[in-house]
């Protein structure tokens, strides 16, 4: 059998999966704790464990050694970026979307002219990459040039990806190239009403592979494997894209949502145009990318348990559980403080379920678009901002809180539209699926070279849950 090993170096666990390419089937899976000081140790342990698992099914260690090994990583803080644009709701938002879609954690987004205080703040935040946008093509150029001049004095070695007004891109690069490696790519917003984030995403990924992996000490791991190809969220988004659109010989699933509830953050990916489903609706605001990712830094089920409870309201969580608000707050605080909390008692488990449900509910609500009714002299008109997910038929859950739960569908129900909130464009009555083998990121990696195998692997491993 032709074997390929797919590796996800996470902040807590290094997960390795061996996939039989001929059958598009998971051959073995193993995970070991990530070792932050030298990721190589954790990776080695995981690969050894995987080798033992594979030996049970008759695969020799020589075969494992020979197998191609591809990795994605969110270790060492993941890919951390700063996004800079001109107008908050236009190029600054477009730059933020591009960075998120490339799998980054966006530390901060800046709009308009940068100040010296902003520059000091960027130096403190220590991003891995800066994405510099601003101005449509042929539009405003004074701001991006000003911002390049301010950044030129930044005391930080950081790659700068330039994705603003193309008329001045070479000039912008000229101000920066003495101190920084610069990369010029297409404008994230070439004209008002049009988003073009894919070229910037590609360049960010390339910079990640070429320089960030080394800077983060992940290059040692590269001795064992064939390369770290992308940040983990980018792999998940890639998997979702293939699953939604299909691939030669395989019909895609159509519009879908992926919810990844983690300990610290909750990611939501939507794959689909999100155009209005109601006739006569007018779209407002920034156009939405087909593959959209949002990250909620205050919604998570471990270190972010307290922020999650505060975000949705302790009273809401307490009435859901039938507990006193004080008890909810206290348990959330305990989970936030304890690094390795594992639910023990039945109440712990119930609370964990509640956290997963509310993280899903709040994150999908923030990701989804909104509709509002406006009265005009010619009658009422509907205005939509953001993506309409109401006709999205599949919601896929990944992350430990779902996978380890006995009732993941109850948590996932938070993703669906509620009758009490008719203006949120969340999925109406979707089918729920569970990434029970932690394979989504692996499938995204696999899709780089073996798209059909990745598609079949996902179809096989995603379990429908009720």
């Amino acid at each position: 059998m032709q074997l390929i090993v797919l590796i996800d170096i996470g902040s807590t666990f290094t997960k390795v999966s061996a996939v039989d390419l001929d059958e598009a089937r998971l051959a073995a899976h193993f995970q070991a704790p990530t070792t932050p000081r030298n990721v190589n140790d954790g990776l080695q342990a995981a690969l050894t464990g995987l080798g033992e698992e594979l030996a049970k099914v008759g695969v020799t260690s020589a075969d494992v050694q020979r197998a191609q090994k591809l990795a994605c990583s969110s270790a060492a803080g993941g890919l951390q970026m700063i996004a800079i644009g001109l107008v908050t709701d236009l190029t600054a938002e477009a730059a933020r979307q591009a960075a998120l879609g490339a799998g980054a954690r966006v530390l901060k987004t800046y709009a308009y002219e940068l100040t010296e205080a902003d520059r000091d703040e960027i130096a403190r935040l220590q991003p891995d990459i800066i994405l510099l946008a601003g101005g449509t093509d042929g539009g405003n150029y004074t701001t991006i040039i000003h911002n390049a001049k301010v950044l030129a004095a930044l005391d930080l070695k950081v790659p700068v990806v330039i994705a603003g007004n193309r008329s001045v891109a070479p000039e912008v690069a000229a101000y920066l190239k003495h101190n920084f490696s610069t990369y010029i790519t297409a404008n994230v917003m070439p004209e008002i009403g049009r988003l073009d984030v894919e070229p910037a995403r590609q360049v960010i990924r390339q910079v990640f592979m070429e320089t960030i992996v080394q800077a983060k000490g992940l290059s040692k791991a590269e001795e064992l494997i064939d390369g770290i190809f992308m940040p983990t969220p980018a792999a998940v988004l890639r998997a979702g894209t293939i699953l939604s659109q299909g691939i030669a010989g395989h019909t895609g699933w159509g519009d879908l949502v992926i919810v990844d509830v983690g300990g610290a953050t909750t990611d939501v990916h939507s794959l689909g145009s999100g155009q209005p489903s109601r006739a006569g609706t007018v779209m407002r605001g920034l156009p939405e990318p087909f593959a959209k990712r949002t990250v909620e830094g205050d919604l998570g089920v471990r270190v972010s348990a307290s922020p999650l409870v505060e975000a949705v309201g302790a009273d809401v969580v307490s009435s859901f559980l039938g507990w006193e608000p004080e008890r909810v707050r206290a348990l959330a605080a305990r989970i936030t403080a304890e690094q390795d909390f594992l639910p023990q008692t039945p109440d712990d488990v119930r609370f964990d379920q509640a956290l997963g449900y509310f993280a899903t509910k709040a994150a999908v609500s923030r990701h989804a678009g909104r509709i509002s009714e406006v009265y005009t002299p010619t009658g009422p008109v509907w205005i939509q901002e953001g993506k309409d997910l109401s006709q999205f038929k599949a919601v896929i859950a990944t992350g430990g809180v779902f996978i380890n739960s006995s009732a993941p569908a109850h948590m996932l129900a938070g993703a669906a539209k509620e009758a009490s909130n008719p203006f949120e464009l969340k999925p109406i009555d979707p089918t729920y699926y569970l990434d029970s083998d932690y394979l989504l990121a692996a499938a995204g990696l696999l899709a780089e070279e073996y798209g059909q195998a990745a598609f079949r692997l996902m179809e096989r491993s995603l379990k429908c849950v009720r």
Binding site: L86, G139, E191, V282, T378
Partner: protein, 138 residues
Amino acid sequence: MNGKTLVLGVIGSDVHAVGNKILEIALKEAGFRVVNLGVLVSQKEFVEAAIETAADAVLVSSLYGHAEIDCRGLREAFIEAGIGDIRLYIGGYLVVGNQPWEETKAKFEAMGFDRVYPPNTLPEDFIPELKQDLGIEE
């Protein structure tokens, strides 16, 4: 292309899309770079689009009689955003009923519009003035 950028749109809760489309086509044929925001455009959207595109002029349409309410403070919003000297044009059915045109025109000029056009103005009626205002040689 004449090198000048125009932002246009129909302001407020106004959904009259046809004239807006005709205007876009006529202005493009006349050589302008046109950023058409369409219908139901807020003041904020006009200002933000003008900033990003470094527009030379903003053309506001209003065809449902509520222009005075919708345009109140628009010039001030441009001033606040740092592009207060941008040229502002408005045209359409600006007020309800049969009010004397001169009064309406004076009212909108006082609000900071450089030119105010009455109903049924055709593109060929005002494009020469627009070119003249923006210093475009024929």
